[in-house]
Symmetry: C2
Subunit: 248 residues, 2 copies
């Protein structure tokens, strides 16, 4: 993983890298200025818990860089990941005080936070924010439902292939590459985190990754660096037919 600390540069909204995708995407300059009056940045290290389920939330915010996970835990310790937070994704729920899930940084991470009360107040008066948040929430709902199909009906092999294809696709769009032919990326999750996402055990994840490697669907270097020689083949293994779907 990254050795040196992520450089942390607080910045103006107008220079912001996630500006066009985040909750503020539709805001005009005046609205951005208003947001900046109650905005601040926070950094987290890989492995750090950002929010504990049940905690009182005094902010909402956007992931600026890095990756975080949203997980639920049962009393006996079984855990299920229910979301993967990537740059531009929104954290927190306006109108609710308590956090519903644990949020954990899996890489070093920078969050753009807004104090909750002012944000809620502004949202009530600023359609641009509510509209964008609605779009984002609808997208997340679609992603959650796609994931319900994965969890409920796919085999372990298909689950792994599904996860790899999501990560590959996301990586391609973030880096403005196409989704065809060979794709190369790093897994941002441990085997255990993948297992929590997929409703499997880490041993099964390991076995199925080995199997996909053995069958030539993927190539692996150093456990985390993946090459997909033929993306269509991977999609096939995921049980999806070339067709879209499977958002993150």
């Amino acid at each position: 993983m990254v050795k040196e600390k992520t450089a942390f540069v607080p910045h103006d909204c107008v220079d912001c890298q996630i500006r066009h995708r985040a909750v503020c995407a539709k805001c005009d300059v005046t609205e951005l200025e208003q947001l900046e009056t109650f905005k601040y940045y926070r950094t987290y290290e890989a492995g750090q818990t950002i929010i504990w389920s049940g905690d009182r939330m005094d902010f909402v915010g956007s992931v600026v860089s890095g990756i975080a996970t949203l997980t639920q835990t049962m009393e006996d310790g079984r855990t299920q990941m229910v979301g993967l937070l990537l740059p531009s994704d929104f954290v927190g729920r306006p109108g609710r005080d308590g956090a519903a899930y644990d949020v954990v940084a899996t890489t070093d991470l920078v969050m753009c936070c807004f104090r909750k009360r002012p944000f809620e107040k502004m949202m009530a008066q600023t359609p641009h924010i509510a509209q964008r948040l609605l779009e984002m929430t609808l997208d997340e709902l679609d992603a959650a439902r796609e994931w319900m199909l994965v969890l409920g009906r796919k085999t372990a092999r298909e689950k792994i292939a599904s996860l790899l294809s999501i990560i590959a696709r996301r990586d391609a769009t973030l880096n403005l590459r196409g989704v065809d032919g060979e794709m190369v990326f790093d897994l941002p999750l441990t085997r255990e985190a993948m297992a929590d996402y997929l409703g499997l055990t880490l041993e099964t994840v390991s076995r199925q990754i080995s199997a996909l490697k053995r069958d030539g669907v993927i190539q692996l270097e150093a456990k985390r660096h993946v090459t997909v020689p033929d993306f269509a083949r991977l999609m096939e293994e995921a049980g999806d037919d070339s067709d879209g779907g499977m958002l993150v």
Copy 2:
């Protein structure tokens, strides 16, 4: 199930039974009048498909009475239910033309439909609608995530208990009863539909229902009429500890 057709009485919004919970909940009288200019009702019979995945949608709307399911299907026929639509729930996604899921009426059903274009146009100008839709979407997202835990990490027995507790709870709130002591309700789903919801086979559903009955967690009459003598016991079987959560 119901033999005679559901009486269909088109009505004014002011008399509407779901008015305080549906997407129009925050609308004032003027806004309701505007909605009525592009509103119409449709009825569906039990078993009828309301929307096919991939279809072009020319309306959005609210379930007025009856129950519908939202399902996804893989090419090989495996299906996963991704949502249960109850009275006041919203159908369709503003801003998207194609339907993402199959919507099927499991009972006779009445829908309050809005022509899509006028609805979208009005939503852009009416914060009350967008605000309410955001609230509803956030609730659905929470429900979907709760369900991911059920699908990914619970045993067959826990899955059944989870589903029963959700239905019991919903039934209690709809009929303004409390969530304690004995609860009685009818299952609105076939064993197969339950299996599709829970990521199981219908045989496993049947076996686990029999097991819960044998163990005294539930009583059954006529396959669909359920009595829960002790709701806390059911929650325990679901792996939830008395605690809230588990929305529909």
